[in-house]
Every structure is written in C-alpha cells, then in structure tokens.
Symmetry: C2
Subunit: 394 residues, 2 copies
C-alpha cells in the first residue's frame, strides 16, 4: 500500500515509537511528576506523558475544543499525512480538516494517544522511572476511565474547561462515554459510534483469545522483548492476535466480494495443493498483521485490549442506569448496520439509557458492508451525521 512507508524496512525492535525517532506532529504533556497518578485497578504511575496532536486554533474563551478519541490500535495522528514519525495518514483524515465534518476552520481538535499506548504516551514500552528499563509486564492494568482521567490532565493543561464535543468510535466511543459520565460538566456534546456500555462476553472472548495467542509466541518472552534484535520480537503472536481482530472488524459479505476463494499464486489442479497453500484472504490477513507489528507494541496491544474487556460503565456506580443518568450532554449514537463485533443493539442501548431528556439526542444507522471498520471507512456518512449533530448542538 502506497502509504505504508515502513514496508521495506526490517521489523522494529518493539513496534513502539521512541523519542529517538522522528517526533512528527506529536506534542507532549507530562503530569504526575510530584505525586503518582492513581489507577482504578489499584496501581499507580509517576511521570505520565500523554502524546497528542491538535488541529485548528483554540478560541479565546477556549469554547471550541473537540476531543477525538482513538480506537485500539489507533494513535494521536487522527488527521494529516503520513511522513516521518507517522507511518500512515491520519485514521480519520477524511473527517477532520478545513471544511471537513469536524471543521478545523471552526474547531480546535485534539487527539491524544491513550495511556498504555505506544506512540508517545506512557505505556508498557516506556521506561520505568526506577530503573530506566521498559515497564513490560510491570506496567499496571489501566482502564478506560484511567485513559480519560489522563486526558483530563491534558485538557487542564490546554485550558479547556469543557469540550465542545467528545467524539469516538469503538474504544474511542468507550472513552467518550466515560468522559460524559466522569465529567458531565466538561462535555457539551457526546458522539459514541460502534461502541457499548460494557464489553460483552463475546467481545471479551475475542480479545482474550488474541492475547492468549500472543502470549504463546516464544519471542514474547514474558513481555521482556525490548532488547530483542530487529526481526526477533513477538511479531508472529501479535500478528495472529491482529488477524483474529481483523476478521471481527469486517464482514462475510465484504470478504466474499474482495477475496472469494482465490488462491495466492496457485491453481488447485495445475499446481497441486499442500497444507500451507494460501487463499487470498489469508494473504490479506497476513499483510494486516504484518503492518500492525511495524507500528505497535505487543504489550500495549495486551494492556489496551484488557482495558476494553474491563470496560463497564456500571462499575462502582450502583447500576448501568445510575451511571448513564450522569450524562448531561446531548448524545448522538451511531451504528454500522453490518457490525458483527459491536452490533447495533449495543448503541441503541446507550441511547435508550440516556436520562437527560435532551431533544437533540438521537441514533443514526450507517448502512455499509464494511462491518465494524465502517466507522473508519464510511467517512462521508459518518461525517454527515457528526456535522449535522455539531450544527444542532451549536
């Protein structure tokens, strides 16, 4: 693929971005330098850095800031070109920009790499302040709420008292929901796409099987692979984990259209067949796994996956209903009708549980054969609904 600038390089040692590499458009905010940042699961972190990017200009009363939250393997590069420090174009480049649905002529847009990530924010590939060596499995479990509370520190530093909107799909939608529940007065509009109030048993199943596959890779070495030579990391395990996810992100229909039953460089009758002959769809999954390992840290994959499994707005709040009753912001929920991983009923539940009686609350369904990934790919339809909702909540 033309924007895969790393495809001809050897695998990096970890897949994680490190400060000795090109910074690209990253900015940084560090907090918890005086006292530790306490985490929901019981652990804590010192010297927490959050990498982020911004687009547009913050107005004088800091009222035009929109927070965009990324999904599992995303990062702060939501918009803009690929280039040094950014292996790909922004993951929502079609949505964020001058004149786009999230119009940077009007809004100051912020996207931060999540806590636990590997693109500049503190995560398992970061150096432990005690010994200067990567955390690895010493990194504490983080939750979606921890990610949001870390973003809260960033908002404070930016002078953003309340967000004009918090917007996200998939795990980004979990963060958006938690923003509106944790800080109801700091969110003036909420957009939650292809996401849920809690991870379902099936979602947990997919996540945990991927983790188990990754842990099986001998090169994972109990999470201590940061000194591995290039090409010697746990890429096989991470790739298998990614392949599992990749199938759940798409649809049977799309796969039939795109691949059917074509073989990679083979004809059954003229070439014969062996146990390892590949169909096109296997080549595609291998390619996607391969791309991920070049830009993502295996431990971040584990920790962020666990954070999604632990996602549950009801935890410690009495009930789901009580949790959702905290939301003040008008809320747009959005489904992709072919999504098999976050089925539409999960977003409808979010909408049904809102108690703010805001007339601007509404649910939209995007018709697409792309499945869960439709929230990234159907930029026209997704952008249309977001733009309309932003205008209504002006």
């Amino acid at each position: 693929m033309s924007n895969d600038r790393h495809s001809d390089k050897p695998y990096p040692a970890t897949g994680a971005w490190t400060p000795d590499q090109p910074v690209g458009d990253r900015l940084f905010h560090t907090f918890a330098t005086d006292r530790p940042f306490s985490l929901e699961g019981g652990g804590s972190l010192r010297n927490v850095t959050i990498a982020y990017e911004t687009w547009g200009t913050l107005n004088e009363d800091a009222s035009n800031a929109i927070l965009v939250c990324h999904a599992w393997t995303g990062d702060s590069h939501a918009a803009g070109r690929s280039g040094k420090g950014h292996s790909d174009n922004g993951w929502w480049d079609g949505l964020i920009g001058p004149g786009h649905a999230i119009d940077t002529n009007k809004f100051f847009v912020v996207c931060s790499n999540v806590l636990g990530g590997c693109q500049g924010s503190t995560g398992p590939s970061s150096l432990h302040p005690d010994d200067g060596k990567p955390y690895g499995l010493r990194f504490p479990v983080v939750t979606i709420r921890d990610m949001v509370r870390a973003q809260g520190h960033l908002a404070d530093a930016l002078g953003v008292k309340s967000w004009r909107a918090v917007i996200g799909g998939s795990m980004g939608g979990m963060q958006a929901l938690e923003w509106a529940i944790l800080f109801p007065d700091r969110v003036r509009a909420l957009v939650a796409i292809a996401t849920s109030i809690e991870a379902s048993a099936q979602q947990i199943a997919w996540g945990s099987i991927g983790r188990r596959a990754l842990l099986m890779d001998p090169a994972y070495n109990n999470g201590d692979y940061y000194d591995a030579e290039p090409d010697c990391g746990p890429w096989n395990g991470l790739s298998v984990a990614r392949m599992i996810a990749q199938v759940t992100f798409r649809t049977d229909t799309r796969f039939n259209e795109k691949f059917g039953r074509k073989l990679v460089n083979k004809n059954f009758h003229s070439d014969g067949i062996d146990l390892f002959s590949q169909f096109d769809v296997e080549g595609y999954l291998g390619h996607h796994g391969d791309r991920l390992v070049r830009r993502f840290d295996a431990n971040s994959y584990l920790y962020i996956g666990k954070a999604m499994d632990l996602h549950d707005v009801s935890r410690g709040r009495g009930s789901t209903e009580l949790a959702m009753a905290r939301i003040k912001a008008p809320t747009l929920t959005m489904s992709i009708d072919s999504d098999i991983l976050y089925p539409a009923y999960q977003q409808e539940i979010i909408q049904q549980l809102l108690k703010n009686a805001d007339p601007r609350n509404r649910h939209e369904t995007v018709s697409s054969i792309e499945g869960h990934d439709g929230f990234l790919m159907e930029t026209v339809a997704v952008g249309f609904h977001i733009a309309q909702f932003l205008a209504e909540t002006d």
Copy 2:
C-alpha cells in the same frame, strides 16, 4: 462435566486414539491394500483404514442404510454412551436410536470417522507403512471428496449399493453434498444442515488463523510431537485454535446469557485486577480447549480444517450450477437462524441450485440462540424435520 471421563488424567501424548487403547464400539474397514488410494490433491495412501460404528440392522436388500457424517472434531461415535474408548456420549445421541428421529428400529445407521481423522481412521497420527512412524506432516492433503470416496469403499464392503439417506451438519453436510454429487445414484435422500457449497472467505479466514496459532506452539515441533511425553504436546496451540472456532460456533446472545461479565473467582474492587484475571467466558473457552486436546490430534485438526477450506463443489466440474445439477436425491436443507459461521443464506443457495425438480426438496429454519452448534444441540427441532423428511421420502 460428568461424561468427561478423561478429565482427571494427564494429557495423552497425542490426543489421537491408538489401537492399544480400548476399541469401544469401533469397527474397521481397510482398503487400498493392493494399490494406493489416489487423492484429489495429488497424493496417495496405502492401507487405508476407516473406523466406523453402526446402529440397527441392515435389511435383506440393504435398502435401509443411512449414512450420518460427522463434523470437524466429531468422530464415528454419533450415538451411544461414553465409556471405554469413547470419551463422550454420541454427538447426536438424541437423534439416533430406537424410536428416535433416525429410528434404529427401522434403519441401519452408519457413521464413519473421516479420512484424516484421529479416532481409528487413517490420518496424520497413523503409522506410515514405509517406516512404521506417524505420518505427521508427511500425510497428504485430503479433501471432502477424498473423505467421501473413502466412505464409498466402506459402503461397498457393507453391501450398501445406495443409501436410504445421507445426513450431515457443518462438515458433515459438505460430505453429504459431495456424496450426492459424486455418486448421484447411491443417495436416495440428502439432508444438508448448516453447511455450504463452498467455504467462504470468512470461513477460510477463521480456519487459517486457528492453524497459524497452532503452528506457533513450540511444542508442535513441525508436526512431529508423537513421541512427546504426556503433557508436552502442542496443547496450548490446539487449545487456542479451538477457542477461535468455539466463539464462531456460538452467539453473542448465548454468551451474554451464559456468562455476561462475571469474573472467575474475582471481584474487581475487593481483589484488584491484573492483566491475567479471567472472565467466566475465558474459563469456559479454556475448558473447551482443554477437553478437545484430550481427544483430538493436532495434525488431524490441521488437515481436516484444510479440507473444509478446500471445500468447493464447483472444482473441476465446470461451475457450481453444473455440479449441483448432478444431484438426483430429494434434498432437505436446514439452517440455524442464529448461525454466524454458516449463515442461512449458504443453505438457501444449496436449495436454490437444485435442478432435480423433486417436489420433496425443501428448506427448514430452526430458531435457536445456540448459533452454529444448534445443529448439534437443537435435537428436537432438527430431529423433527429429519424424521418428517425421512417419512416423506419413504
């Protein structure tokens, strides 16, 4: 589980049944002793043994024989109790028996372990005639057609010129279809449940990811693990592969009902949480993986999975339409409405492509929350439709 008789034993060396273990209700037929059995993929096998079981009595003109075909990890023990040689009750015990839907007072029922299997039929765990060592990866690729042609040898040996019916679900349905296409005059009624005319790209994706996970297990040792000590086989890899399949066999709805978000022996707030804390659904998947490795050979899992990926009735027959036009038998197709792995449209296509204009052809849908496994679990509904169809085709 009460019928899991092996649960307190160490893992077997291979998961495969071997002749030094209790034979149970197995019978055997061996062919290709004079000349090799040629396979569709180009390989061949000598001294092919097919393990099978029968229930009921073959009548004088051998007109009452029904062939029941098993799925991926099934075996010839379709009915009957667990006991020595059979770790579980028959996988269709509720359907096959005296007075049951497939009535053994009336029919002579046969089920054979497939070629490539590991419960007495020749497969990768069998000994190569050349050196008396397990085939392992030296075993040739087999296809569904090869499995059916091997069953053809068994039918000859039993004196069954034509089957009263050939019945199967999932991979069993692929065999049933191929029986009716390869040998149109030997099948007098066809029942194809939760199956397809060809493996879809998504099905291939799931299968191939499972295989890749299994191959990653260091204990797999390139397929050469038959001398491994008990507890040292590629059980971790096989278990992960099985877990992937297990999620595709069930449904989101069922998982929500059965597991929800319960943790195994943990409370998030009082116990804290770590990266390896498990949810109930993870424990369930682990249990299923664990059960499989006690009774199934990892190489058989690979070869049979590949056979399913290669399933395509059109191969070498001009087109799907021409292939399906060969079927003479009246055909009952059946869908489980919640099946995410073999969606209903795949069975509807089978029905639509029939060209025999038999008025008894029909499609039935079973309403169930069990997903693909509904073909095994909904014995009352599945049995009802089979019994009715058998009466109509009498």
